[in-house]
Subunit: 712 residues, 2 copies
């Protein structure tokens, strides 16, 4: 529903503009006390010079903090773009109705006492949404700390942290599901000199979601990088839409998604569901887009800062010049930990550099030693060679305090600037310690600066991951011909038949009723075969000698049929015999494949090695469905145990093509099966040696009933 509303203009998230960039704002519950919740927004806007019209609403005052106030919303001289609602919960609904009648386009609600307290609060919140829909208004909150847009002097927030200082100019936006944490990010950003002019705290998200907030920030021409804090994604469509818009605009989203530790507690929907941590599903979704997920605010801001340079190197690799061998080792360690390649310099260039400076170690990291501080032309030559000969997409120079020592700094900065300007497409990072004024020339020249080289490596790796993500096309929206799943529980045989229509091979097996059939079928599927007496009345077949393993050749199959039927008749005289089940006897590497329907993101595929690997080590990889064979192959090879599939320690490599085809087909099946499909477990799948295929030995499909699915 909301989507069509957003698509009215060319911008998808345009309907938030009245909220985030208002030309006029009413403050309902305006306070004369600049430290109260209804007073802070006015105080902040007065101090920062709001560019639009500010209209306090207060029934008892003619003026509030020196500007004319209005007794009631009805008395407002114009329909405000937005309203800040700071009245007790019980008065909020009437306020929204009045604002709607007045023609307000949006409102944000500080008040708490809604869905977060449960019970009546939930109903009260629903009533707000109803009212807003009727009046075609957008709502933020309730229970939100609000928003600010410093580029327009707009402060619709009561965050007390602003008392300490307003946001610095810059191009980083903040969207947060926690107001206190959003303000914390602002504080951290200020402390390290980063500008975050726009923040949205979404509160209870009765209408406007985190996804929409991210989307609006992405579409804002004043914002290059969006940072976000999420506890749970409540509306997946707007969230995914925001990720898509960000990808197209080449604007990265740096996301702190929390709640990893509580995820195991969620009730399991099925065997697969119990294995799939929701958090890993979330990571699988993000992997399709240009999103970097971080675990700490410091890391989030480091990466956001580096991203403000807007250089996202594709196929990233790191070359380093350093005055300290130790820093070189630290960076090598960190790069290996994070998977950022640091290939060596070409041998010819190494020889040439070694000639220029015999003390140097010109492999990569290129240690040109503190000697270059006495001959900065040499520093330029080495760095130019690193870029031109080494061809690294990213360059890190370690200078620490030497780079800001007054006797060296100005010339060093100039020398490096020349190198940088010749290669504007490279990400050029310097590890530097200095006061604000000391590092300012480097900042102005467009270098990315970090004190700690380890943090530099983390940020450089993130820029490369963004580059790769931007270079990869987004998954095309696909429509699927729906298939009809049977009603009721689905038997193993039925599950295998359903899947075989998608090309997913099970271990070949058939129940035959005479020796001739047995012989012909065995010849068809290939030897050796397993033969079992087929009877629903004999649960423990091996106890009556009803199972023959490793049956080779036509004669043995014929004999086997007669033997099994005879044993059945003799040893289980009351059982109804259906014949003999003949199956190809397969031994291969045990794998595990499955589908879990995520309540938010739809079907997600999981792959792992079978047995103890899946049960004890949880060595699993996830991907949102559908994906093609190449995607499946990537997924398969991403597990830790992948060497076992590739032929570790003298084993034969398995048929990864067949596994990948099967997994990709399973992902398509999951999409076509629709919302009734809850889970699929193929466990084990036997992967045979290359060229011999992969076969599911068991298949379990779980569905909801038609009525349940319709409700959900």
């Amino acid at each position: 529903m909301q989507e069509s509303k957003n698509q009215a203009s060319g911008m998808r998230f345009d309907s938030l503009t009245s909220l985030l960039q208002p030309r006029s704002v009413a403050v309902v519950g305006a306070s004369t006390d600049p430290t109260r919740i209804g007073g802070r927004p006015i105080s902040y806007m007065l101090r920062q010079g709001f560019s639009g019209r500010l209209m306090p609403v207060n029934p008892k005052r003619e003026q509030v903090q020196g500007i004319p106030a209005f007794g009631h919303v009805d008395d407002l001289p114009e329909a405000p773009d937005t309203a800040i609602v700071a009245v007790p919960a019980a008065q909020v609904l009437a306020t929204i109705e009045a604002l709607g009648a007045k023609g307000a386009r949006s409102a944000l609600i500080f008040s708490s006492g809604f869905s977060e307290v449960g019970g009546e609060g939930v109903e009260l919140q629903a009533a707000l949404v109803d009212a807003a829909r009727r009046w075609n208004m957008r709502l933020l909150g309730p229970n939100t700390a609000g928003v600010f847009n410093a580029n327009h002097g707009y402060y619709g927030t009561f965050a007390s942290g602003l008392e300490r200082g307003f946001p610095l100019p810059g191009r980083i936006g903040i969207a947060s599901q926690s107001g206190a944490y959003g303000a914390h990010l602002l504080g951290l950003a200020r402390a390290r000199g980063l500008g975050t002019p726009i923040m949205v705290a979404t509160g209870n998200e009765c209408d406007i979601t985190l996804g929409e907030s991210i989307g609006w920030l992405v579409e804002n021409p004043d914002i290059d990088v969006v940072t976000a804090y999420a506890e749970s994604v409540r509306d997946v469509d707007s969230f995914i839409a925001a990720l898509e818009v960000a990808h197209r605009a080449r604007k990265p989203i740096i996301l702190q998604k929390v709640g990893r530790s509580s995820l195991g507690q969620r009730a399991a929907l099925s065997h697969t569901a119990a294995l799939v941590g929701d958090d890993k599903v979330f990571d699988a979704i993000l992997a399709d887009y240009a999103v970097i997920r971080t675990n700490s605010s410091a890391e989030l801001l480091n990466i956001a800062y580096a991203a403000t340079r807007r250089i996202y190197p594709v196929n990233n690799s790191l070359g380093m010049v350093t005055i300290s061998g130790g820093a070189g080792i630290i960076v090598s360690d960190a790069a290996e930990d994070i998977g950022l390649p640091m290939p060596s310099m070409p041998e010819a260039s190494q020889a040439r550099l070694k000639e220029l400076l015999p003390f140097s170690s010109p492999i990569n990291p290129v240690d040109f030693t503190a000697h270059v501080l006495n001959d900065l032309a040499l520093a330029s030559q080495f760095t130019e060679s690193l870029i031109t000969d080494g061809g690294y997409a990213s360059v890190l120079a370690f200078f620490s305090q030497a780079g800001t020592v007054p006797s060296i700094a100005p010339r060093l900065c100039e020398a490096f600037k020349t190198v940088k300007q010749a290669h504007p497409e490279r990400l050029f990072v310097i590890s530097l310690i200095g006061d604000e004024e000391q590092v300012a020339p480097y900042e102005e020249a467009g270098f990315v600066l970090f004190e700690d080289p380890t943090e530099a490596v983390t940020a450089i790796a993130a820029m490369g991951r963004l580059g790769d993500a931007f270079a990869r096309p987004l998954p095309e929206p696909q429509t699927f011909e729906p298939i009809e799943l049977p009603n009721g529980a689905i038997s193993e045989a039925c599950a295998k038949t359903l899947l075989s229509d998608f090309g997913i091979a099970s271990v070949p097996e058939r129940v035959v009723s005479d020796a001739g059939q047995a012989e012909r079928y065995a010849a068809e599927i290939g030897f050796p075969v397993v033969m079992k007496i087929a009877s629903a009345d004999i649960p423990h077949k091996s106890e009556i000698g009803g199972v023959l393993l490793n049956v080779m050749g036509a004669a043995a199959v014929r004999d086997g049929f007669e033997t099994l039927m005879a044993r059945g008749r003799e040893r289980a005289p009351d059982a109804r015999l259906d014949g003999v089940l003949v199956a190809r006897q397969i031994s291969g590497v045990e794998c595990f494949m499955g589908i879990k329907r995520d309540p938010l993101f739809g079907p997600v595929a999981v792959f792992g090695l079978g047995g103890i690997f899946v049960e004890v080590l949880k060595d699993l990889a996830f991907r949102r469905c559908p994906f093609d064979v190449a995607g499946a192959r990537e997924l398969i090879l991403s597990i830790k145990g992948a060497p076992l599939l590739l032929g570790a320690r003298g084993r034969a490599p398995v048929d990864i093509d067949a596994l990948a085809k099967m997994l990709s087909e399973l992902s398509v099946f999951a999409c076509r099966a629709g919302v009734r499909l809850q889970s699929v477990d193929l466990n084990p799948v036997f992967a045979l040696p290359t060229g011999q295929g992969a076969f599911a030995a068991d298949a379990v499909i779980e569905t909801t009933e038609v009525a349940d699915a319709a409700r959900s």
Copy 2:
């Protein structure tokens, strides 16, 4: 040798005092230019007011930088405590001889051109050491950036970073194998307001080692925390001695040991050696002492800072109060990641707090919401309850910018100070954002302050690990009755016999020469048994039907003996038959145990699950030998696959007592076997169900020859 020298006084590392806290210093190669290598130390000392006598040596000047100079070392008016040597490499030896003759007690050598350039440099360096030993002088370097001790105004360093600012007062020492990186740490510490008054850069370590430098810092009463940067430990005795002294003095060592990524490249000495990353061995050594190893300088300084409070909570647990639910989730995630427990508050206390403040969420983290900012008495009550009722060893309060807002800060700080003073043994950490002056009152009150709550969690966890390490007694030095290993290659049978003397059980097996013997032996070891034709001339026994599996009962064993001998005679007529090997047929969980002799730290034990676990997943744990059964059990249970041993997914739990006993006995064997023992591999070891023991199925012992061992 060195140890006896150090033990002259009560302090083990006393012989470094003349170097690090000199009463008089000669600067040989003193320069009038304060930016040159021979000029910087003088310039720094003049600016900072060196407390001792400063004596420049310069043959061409009567004065250097305004103070009287001497033409030659011989002309010095007194024997200097130490000398700074800043002359070309070729002149260093003569300088050391002259200093020795003059009676100097120590010297540090800036000059490079020694062992780091190889060839003649190595010999030149050895000559320096000879000279110093003759004169009973201690030497630092050569190729060192030097030392400083700001507490005495002593600056024996040419680090250019000091131009930007001298170290702040404080109680953190720096010992570094890289001068540039030591200076980098100083710069980072200054930038975040941390005082690091003493630094030692060890350079080539021709005499004084990193270990001795750490040891001296630990023994210095002005230092509470030692930070260290290491590339490789060259002298293990002084290093371990320093760790021991630190443990006894309850002073933590925060260590950045680099070079993780290059370790795989080192040539393997044996199968086990190839699996044992030296880096993991190093970690295993550190685990015995109170050392925290970090991967980045930022983390190192965060932890060092927290340690300056000298509160090391044993059995650490974390209680949190927060004004932001989001920060609570972030901290819960981080604590779970790092293994820091956050148990819930007692239910009665939760109920009481909920009554005090209905909006609060008083479980743990205790979210008392931003409401408490209006009622700070409530903040105190909640925090007091967290400490008293919850009993957490560490407390984290999240206030972010709200904690430094002028309208709140002074009262909040006072309130928390009162709570803190009532519980001086708790580690009290506040997540706070503010300028230097804003946070100063909290610093003065002794709180540990972090901007980012994630960094706070890392530091709190480290304090707990230190507390546990200090509370644990150091491993007692043990002497071992040496055992004689046979000369030459050790056969599998011989290896098993050697180990069986230590109670390490192999799979029972014996070569028998008649059917009666076979029957008696099988009865002794228990059925089923495996029988194999015993002949060195039949390498592929199964090809001639020479292996019988799963032999049950006396008759079958007798028959088996005759069958195998007959087949041997018939199918391998030229082979010499030794009889038949009878072995107990064992199936259990496959494990892997081994010993690797580390060139520095001696024998190290390794444990893992067998097969693919050790080969592909490298799921291994290490520990320095020897250790007792409890230590072995800890080691065994520390692997990721431990659930497989404990009975995961319905399997029978294995006999961990037997495994632990075997591993502990192996560690004692390794110590008694002495330096000739290179490695032991028991692969596989079969662990049977509880009560049934563990048996090595194969044993390989590798040794060096007697002559080699004597050389090493």
